[in-house]
Structure formats: structure tokens, C-alpha cells
């Protein structure tokens, strides 16, 4: 069951590849947006790097597989992975049911705050998904 919403929370930043980022002090929590999970359909597998791995800004972060399609995930920041959402191994559907909450993907240590300025604001991301939905 997917969450039928294109909700774009005001307190997050977004990548053009449909990841969200929530700054939590020196850390950033990352997930995929409600729009993205709605497009993917039921998520059945998420492949993420292990804690300690280095990720690069808008470099491939992992893969997410839904019933219909395999998609690449991209990291909205450069840094070291400090935590991955272990619950997704048994319950990948959390990405669908609670994309901004229990369906988070991982936590990365911020290394370059200037990258945050390259991400989309909620208004800019909303404009992007409205364009994509209209295609």
C-alpha cells in the first residue's frame, strides 16, 4: 500500500532525484519523497551502503526496487554514513507507508554545508513534481 500523497514537508530540502534531507545538527537524515514512492509503487528491496561508507554529492547511493522497477538512489550530500535504517530489511514497505518518517533510508555526517544550498527548497521541489506529474 503506497501513501497517496504528494506531500512536500516545509522543513526539508530536496534533490532533483526525489531524495529528501533533514538536517539534524551535524548530521543529515535522508529518504525518498512521497512523490517518488508513489511513482515507484510497492517497494520490496532497498540496497544501501554500510555505516562508515563514504558517499558523494549526487553520486549513486544505492538501489531501490519496487514491484515494477529498479531505481538508483542518489546522495543529496557528501559525507560518511553513520546509520542505515535496519527496519527496511524486513519492512521495505515503510518507504511507502511513511516516507518522511519510519521509511527514512540513512543518516550521513555533513561535511560540506555549502552543498545544502544546491538542494531544492520545498517550493522549488513542488514546482518540479508538478512539472513531472504533468508530463
Amino acid at each position: 500500500m503506497t501513501a497517496r500523497t504528494n506531500e512536500v514537508p516545509e522543513d526539508l530540502l530536496y534533490s532533483s532525484e526525489h531524495e529528501w534531507l533533514r538536517q539534524e545538527g551535524d548530521l543529515a537524515r535522508v529518504g525518498i519523497t512521497a512523490f517518488a514512492q508513489d511513482r515507484l509503487g510497492d517497494v520490496v528491496y532497498v540496497e544501501l551502503p554500510a555505516p562508515g561508507a563514504a558517499v558523494g554529492f549526487m553520486a549513486k547511493l544505492g538501489e531501490i526496487e519496487s514491484v515494477k522497477v529498479a531505481s538508483e538512489l542518489f546522495s543529496p550530500l557528501t559525507g560518511e554514513v553513520v546509520e542505515v535504517n535496519a527496519a527496511l530489511e524486513k519492512e521495505p514497505e515503510l518507504v511507502n507507508t511513511d516516507p518522511y518518517g519510519a521509511g527514512w533510508l540513512l543518516v550521513v555526517r555533513l561535511s560540506d554545508r555549502s552543498e545544502l544550498e544546491k538542494l531544492l527548497t520545498p517550493a522549488a521541489y513542488t514546482a518540479q513534481i508538478e512539472r513531472e506529474a504533468g508530463l
Binding site: 500500500m1 509503487g41 510497492d42 528491496y45 540496497e47 538501489e63 526496487e65 514491484v67
Partner: protein
Amino acid sequence: MTAVQSTPLAGQHAALSAHFGEFAGWRMPLWYGGAVGEHLAVRKAAGVFDVSHMGRFGVEGKDAAALLSASFSRDAASLAPAASGYALACNAAGGIIDDLIVYRLDAARFRVICNAANAGRIGALLEASRSTWPAVAVADSLAGTVLIAVQGPQAVAAVAALVPGAAAIGRRGCGEVALGGATCFLARTGYTGEDGFEIMLAAAAGEALFERLLAAGVTPCGLAARDSLRLEAALPLYGVDMDDATSPWEAGLGWALALEHDFPGRDALIASKAAARRRLTCIVGDGQGVFRSHQLVYHDEEPVGQVSSGGFSPLLERSIAMAYLPRALAPVGTALTIDIRGRRVAAHTVKRPFYTSSRAGAAP
């Protein structure tokens, strides 16, 4: 290229907030709430699918049985009234033009339901056969009609409660009943591995029946669930698991070949039986990741085939696949790996199919 077509139920799908996708030139619902939930609803209760994109023909006349027998791999003349038979349309080399079901209503009236992508080819094939049997009427029934499939352990009861006369139709049977003043074609067949009905009726009556089924608690299901259901049941899909170059013997469809009667490809099929070197084999994943079409299958580090159909099985909660493998590797328990975008995932062969309903009977 013609424009993408929509079925008469497009308004219902939109009202249900369906996710649409294009399939064989049709804009069809892929899922509504979610494909996994829809899949499980069909396994555990009942689901309804709009399959109005599928080709459907009426073939009627004194010689209709002879025409159909001469066209397809099953001998339509041997079908009892109110029975159906799965059949192949083969080319002269024995390759598969389409797979379809022939339904016999009575001595002289038949229905044929085939894949959407091949409706044009089957229509042309039937029309061409009329040169030998000009008195047989071939009617394309697609325009103005709806075809819905109601599938699952509670499907027969759900349909019987809304369609008087449905309960009298047994497994793989067919018949016509009156519904709302119009004729409704009912077939106790499907493509999910479950018991249920496929129902063809006029568009307006079909819209009403679809809505009454929803009101009765039947889950609307899209083509994504239909695909995962048929894969669990190891029912091959035309264009994915088989095509014009596929040997029915290798596809495991030898049971659908009635070689005692003459049909296109028969001689080639008799000659090629012993030459079948591969077999469409069921494979279950032992690791993480979802198998997809065209991924390479390895045994002892040697590439031995590629996935024809793959996907996630909501019932087994594992990735499953079908692939044409050398016969020597088909036995249950053969260790394999499958390349998922550069990552080798362990897998092993299992008995076909992955899933058999206790109610639906063994033969596909």
C-alpha cells in the same frame, strides 16, 4: 502508430486513483492502492481486473469447429459444449504466434480470447481461414464491450451473488447468462492460478458489474498484480516468455499440442520434440534483489541462460524468475547465480509452478 486506447472502465480507474501504464497500446491500471496488497487479496479473497484490452472474437457457424481446429494447436472440434481449451497459434516452424483460449458455447458458437498485443494477428488469421470456410462468421467483439476477470478463492461466490446462473458453470467451463437485459459471457478461467471468472459484456453493463463487485468488497487489481500472480503460477506471458521463435516443447506447453489433428506447425512440432534442449525453468532467489527480464543466469560461472520473467513474489517474499535453461540444469535444487546489474545473487531451481492453489486444480 495509433493512439493509445483506453477501456470503457477508464473513468472507474481514475475515480479509484489508479496508477496507469501503457501495455500493448492500451492505457491500463498498473495498481490502485499497491500491487503487493492486490496480489495478496487475490490469493486470499478476491480481486477484479479490467482486461478489456485483450482480443476477443466470436466464431460462429456450422463449420466453426473445423475452422478453429485447423487454426490452433487444440482440436476445437473435440471440445464439449460449455467447455474451454488453452491453445497455441503456431507458425509453420512451430514457433508461437500467440497463446489463447477457445471457448465452445454450443455446437456452432465459439469465443476466442487472446493477448492484446496479438489481437490483430489472431483476427487476421481467423479471417484468412474463412477462405476455406466462408460460411463461418468471425466477429471482433472488442468494440463496445468490457472484459473483466474476477479471481481468488472468494471470486466464484462474489460473481454468483451478482450474476444469476454463474454458479452453474464449472471449472474451465463457459456459458451465457442474461444480466440487466443483455447477454453476458462467463468463463471459469483466468490468468492468476486461482479459481474465478472472466466475464465479457456490453460496456455499460460491465461498468455496472465492476462497481457492484467493488461494493461487494472485491479488491480492484491492476496489471502489476496480474503479472506477479501469473508468474507465481508459472503461466508464461507472450512476448516475454515466448514469441515466434519459441518452441512450445521448451516452454513446457507440449500439453497444449493436440498432435493427432492437423494445424499450422504440426509437422515441425512433431519433428522438433526430440530436439528440445532447453526448458523454461522456475528459479527462486536466495539473496536480496529482484530478478528482472534479460538478467543473465550462471551455473558454475558459465552463462547458461537469461531470465525471461522475473519479479518479487509477495507470497514467497523472495525474488522468483523463469528462464530457459539447458535441460540438464532443470532438475530441482540446481545451484545458480543471477546477475543483478553487476551483482551475483544466489538462486536455485524449483518445481514448476511456484504456487498452486488448492482450489484451482493442477493443470494451467
